[in-house]
């Protein structure tokens, strides 16, 4: 079995384009957490991408014109499989004797990914490599708290 194929892309479903320079890739309706997503993009141009995941539902939105972006199908599977697994394992370890889990930052080669647990699932934010991902993680956690 290889990488995601056209058949997989078909399963992923519809894509739509939103206004204000952000391309929204909606894999499941209805729209999730629009206010939270916009608030995160409003943190500044260092925010490249925002995704919300809840069970089997994933919604991603990406700023237009960013360099070295990963492709939409791999983003979808990252939010469906990778990030929930990172959070589950880290949460289990954190709740054992580390005071719980606040967030995870993954420093990839081209960008940093901030993953923050929410009561309903998770929020994943891709930030520019030069930006301070720890600051973004704290800001996103606060925004999640304010919008819940």
């Amino acid at each position: 079995m290889g990488r995601p194929s056209e058949a997989v892309a078909e399963v992923l479903g519809q894509r739509s384009r939103a206004t204000s320079g952000v391309q929204k890739l909606a894999y499941d309706a209805p729209e999730m957490n629009a206010r939270l997503r916009q608030a995160i993009f409003d943190l500044g141009p260092q925010i490249r991408y925002v995704a919300c995941g809840e069970g089997q539902r994933v919604e991603t939105a990406q700023r237009d014109g960013i360099a070295d972006a990963s492709d939409a199908s791999s983003d979808f599977f990252e939010e469906l499989l990778v990030n929930p697994t990172l959070l589950t394992l880290a949460r289990q370890r954190g709740e054992l004797d580390c005071g719980g889990l606040r967030h995870v930052i993954v420093a990839y080669g081209n960008f940093n990914q901030v993953v923050v647990p929410a009561a309903w699932g998770h929020v994943s934010v891709c930030v520019e490599r030069e930006a301070d991902a720890e600051v973004v993680a704290r800001q996103v956690a606060l925004l999640i708290e304010q919008t819940q």
């Binding site: 990488r3 394992l89 880290a90 289990q92 954190g94 004797d97 930052i105 990839y108 081209n110 720890e134």
Partner: protein, 111 residues
């Protein structure tokens, strides 16, 4: 290598190296709210290799590879990164800058 990482400053609480089934952990003596040595061992044997393997797979698919991970726990932060087929983990004080420290550790281990 462990001594060099501890020498980054008092914000470095803990250093561990993992390779296959081998785990070596060291913790600064005056840490009061550390996790247990038993759970640390299993973190290095099971948790951090899994986190790194998953992130590496994703990073090599379409993210430019993996540099490091930071896990922000409630009472400290942990930075983990691949090293020579295994990994190194650094436990950091909660008020330390985990991004800057991870970059320092990455520079040390890449030499």
């Amino acid at each position: 290598m462990g001594d060099e990482i501890f020498a980054l400053g008092p914000h470095v609480r803990y250093v561990a190296f993992g390779s296959g089934q081998d785990v070596d952990t060291r913790q600064r003596a005056d840490i009061r709210d550390g996790s247990s040595s038993e759970s640390d061992f299993f973190e290095e044997l099971l948790v951090n290799p899994t986190l790194l393997a998953l992130a590496r797979q994703r990073g090599e698919l379409a993210g430019g590879g993996l540099r490091y991970l930071i896990v922000a726990y409630g009472i400290f932060n942990v930075s983990a990164m691949p090293l020579n087929g295994g990994h190194v983990t650094v436990g950091l004080a909660l008020d330390a800058d985990p991004v800057a420290t991870a970059a320092h550790v990455a520079a040390l281990v890449s030499v």
